[in-house]
């Protein structure tokens, strides 16, 4: 049976009785499945074209009648029986792709040693070629520990060609590759695997230049928006782990392929890859079992830095290319946090700063008097607009910013690509809630006030969503209201409280208050698009003056970049993982009181 997927127009063969979501997973067609196909969200909806398909019971409960009439169906419930054509929801070409901020790097001790040596060959001696090379490297102060088969082959050929001057590429004593002397550049890749997106930076190692950053969706998104649902999928049967592993490797290979093509690179010139990512993404990338990461006590398979040759991961690089996984701090504080710590150089700082990675999982790192404290908390997908009444991902037409102008009595909304609004993205919901608290539509407890207590000019925006009070932010082109209702506010409060509680606990562990903070860094794909005024107002961040808040973009990737370029930064990563004080909040006696207090939308 054929499933044709618009707008691309590709037709794929599908076995009967397979859901459209599953077929898309199999054929690497990106379709978000926030809940992992459990029928609890509506993010995987598609439009059925040119045919009547009776809506399932779940379609009827989750989609509006007018959308059902337009042919919308949940792809997780839609079975392919006979040929079928579907259209995917529009996806933004501009994915959340935050900037990568790097410090000034002047001279660094590189991770990859790139040296030329002269072999001293005795014509009458039977000393192996590798011993000669070892000697020549020792003369440069480099200890040769092992060599790749590719390098050994080159070594033999070079000697028989009587080439005695050789360019050697080494990683921690491992000879990756060997070639005739040249000044041609070699490259490294730094990768951050996030739960929703994957970013890859191409680096020129000798010049320390970052040539490009590409971001794509994490194809595992079709198995669930949060990493817990991916672990749940891996728990179903053992093959599923390999399926998830294969998905991410496949996507990275596609990204590598594109870089190789567009920069005209030779694969063997990519000599190092470094990976940051949360513990679950890290384990899935290496194909390590994630089941123990799915619950208390969250035991990782390993937490130290890991070096694996590319071939063992089926990455389309030269087989011996070292692939380095940054260390994890624990099963729930991953290599992404390490990346952030490296990027901001937290272990070496003398001031007092906190870095908050805002997202599905909140990660917090604080340094005070040279001591590093870390904590993480599951905030859930609320910040991404999931499970909100009119919530959506940041697609064209998603409302990303909302500002209430009291003086001119106007409400301004910004949408992605300035398309007509069709839903509200997570950042828009945060803005809306911060603004509604400011104008008194919401009180600090998060309760939406009776309409007659609203500013008069806003009262026409009152709405009743089922039994819940709601505020209409905008109307879509079909005049349907796009609103934030009382339940959305509560969902956001939970996500905000989880994050703020983690912040509270690291600050308590260090014995400091907000006044002690010299700087508050906001990291992460989602964080980068937040309005600092909004997140200060709802008390997602500690109570500091606005000018102390700094957005640092994808700091996890920046950390991976630094650890690819500079061995000092790689050492920092290893040190951070060993030295960081893990702050455990869930088992603290006051946890519930703190959490309840942090639900408040204000300081």
């Amino acid at each position: 049976m054929g499933l044709t997927v618009l707008p691309e127009g590709r037709t794929v063969a599908v076995a009967p009785g397979v859901s459209v979501l599953q077929a898309c997973r199999e054929h690497d067609i990106d379709l978000p499945g926030i809940c992992g196909g459990r029928g609890r969200c509506r993010e995987c909806r598609v439009t059925v074209i040119g045919r009547e398909v009776a809506p399932s019971a779940l379609d009827q409960s989750l989609l509006e009648p007018e959308d059902l009439a337009k042919g919308w169906r949940l792809s997780c419930q839609l079975m392919v029986e006979g040929d079928l054509t579907i259209a995917l929801p529009p996806v933004s070409l501009k994915l959340l792709d935050p900037s990568v901020v790097l410090p000034q790097l002047s001279s660094v001790k590189p991770v990859i040693q790139d040296v030329e040596v002269d072999l001293v060959v005795g014509e009458e001696s039977d000393r192996p070629a590798i011993a000669l090379l070892e000697e020549a490297l020792a003369g440069k102060g480099i200890l040769l520990k092992r060599a790749s088969i590719a390098a050994l082959r080159e070594l033999g050929l070079a000697l028989s060609r009587r080439e005695k001057r050789l360019r050697c590429l080494l990683h921690e004593g491992f000879l990756i590759d060997l070639r005739p002397p040249s000044a041609s550049p070699v490259y490294g890749l730094a990768i951050d695997i996030g739960t929703s997106t994957v970013s890859m930076a191409l680096l020129e190692l000798s010049s320390l230049a970052m040539l490009s950053v590409e971001t794509e969706r994490n194809p595992q998104g079709a198995y669930g928006g949060d990493f817990m649902s991916r672990i749940a999928f891996a728990m179903e049967k053992e093959e599923n782990l390999l399926e998830l592993h294969g998905k991410i490797i496949g996507r990275l290979n596609r990204m590598i392929e594109r870089l190789v093509m567009s920069y005209g690179l030779a694969r063997r010139d990519i000599v190092l890859m470094t990976l940051a990512g949360n513990a679950v993404m890290h384990h899935l990338f290496f194909g390590l079992d994630v089941k123990a990461l799915g619950g208390f006590p969250f035991r990782p398979v390993l937490n130290e830095a890991l070096v694996v040759p590319a071939a063992e991961l089926a990455l389309k690089l030269a087989p011996a290319t070292p692939v380095v996984g940054l260390p994890l701090i624990s099963g729930y504080i991953g290599a992404d946090t390490i990346g952030v710590i490296v990027a901001l150089d937290l272990v070496n700082r003398k001031d007092t700063v906190i870095a908050v990675d805002v997202g599905t999982n909140a990660e917090v790192a604080l340094v005070h008097q040279g001591k590093l404290y870390v904590c993480s908390a599951p905030a859930g997908p609320a910040f991404e607009g999931a499970q909100m009444a009119c919530g959506t991902q940041a697609r064209p037409g998603a409302i990303t910013k909302i500002a209430i102008d009291d003086a001119r009595q106007r409400l301004r909304v910004d949408t992605v690509e300035e398309k007509p609004p069709f839903g509200i993205a997570g950042t828009g919901i945060v803005d809306a809630i911060a603004e509604l608290v400011r104008v008194g539509v919401l009180d600090e407890s998060g309760r939406m006030q009776e309409t007659d207590e609203w500013p008069a000019w806003l009262r026409e925006r009152a709405h009743l969503a089922g039994e819940m009070r709601a505020f209409i932010v905008a109307r879509d082109p079909e005049d349907r209201p796009l609103y934030v209702h009382q339940g959305d506010v509560r969902e956001l409060q939970l996500a905000k409280a989880a994050t703020a509680t983690a912040v509270h606990y690291v600050m308590a562990a260090a014995g400091i208050t907000a006044a002690d903070l010299d700087r508050v860094y906001v990291a992460g794909a989602f964080g980068s698009y937040l309005d600092p005024k909004s997140i200060l107002r709802i008390a997602l961040l500690p109570d500091v003056p606005l000018e102390r808040v700094e957005f640092v973009g994808n700091a996890a990737l920046a950390g991976a970049v630094l650890a690819t370029l500079s061995s000092k930064h790689m050492e920092t990563a290893v040190r951070a993982a060993r030295e960081a004080v893990r702050v455990d909040m869930a088992t603290d006696e006051s946890f519930q009181d703190v959490f309840v207090d942090k639900l408040r939308l204000g300081h």
């Binding site: 817990m228 672990i231 749940a232 089941k291 208390f296 819940m468 408040r600």
Partner: protein, 223 residues
Amino acid sequence: MNAPATSEREEILNGLADSVWKLDPAMATQFAQRAIDTGMDAYEAINDGLAKGMMVVSGKFDRREYFVPELLRAAKAMNTGIDLLKPYLKVDATTHKGTVVIATVKGDIHQIGKNLVALMLRTAGFTVHDLGVNCPAEKYLGKAKEENADIIGMSALMTTTMLYMETVTRELEQQGMRERIRVMVGGAPVSEAFAKKVGADRYASHAAMAVQVAKELVAQKVA
């Protein structure tokens, strides 16, 4: 002492109910004292006064007008009233609603939702044994046996840990306890359909609803 006159009786019951949904322990104290002073039946004061107020809270929670902090404060107000009235309760089987063993399942250390349910159930007159978090099947079953529990309540906040609920229901089945013990489940990733799948009797989407569900389960058992 004689029972209070109808109008005063109404006023006291309303006052007790209002004190709960207005989240006002001082008001609960004031009206509970008046109930005692006027010789009102303590059970009536709780059931037709304070508990009515909690129903209002439950409705507000359904509309999310109230949230976790309000639920906690309402329970506090209600418990303030109950504590005052308790010494005047005639010991009567009708005041004991049932026995519940509750915990967050093995692998999961989220506690707030479970704590709220435990609090609400206690407030509503259930005897609650809270086994905390990360609770294995043996512990649920052992306690349920020991206390002759009517209900086992399980909570999970993660898609990975909620699967454990099935381990517990299966164990109940195997030990031949399933007939005697009702199972209710809850937590963010849990749904009605999931509850059925893992062999639970009922699902409750929030703490106030859990009380209703627990009452119905006990009523079923009696019937």
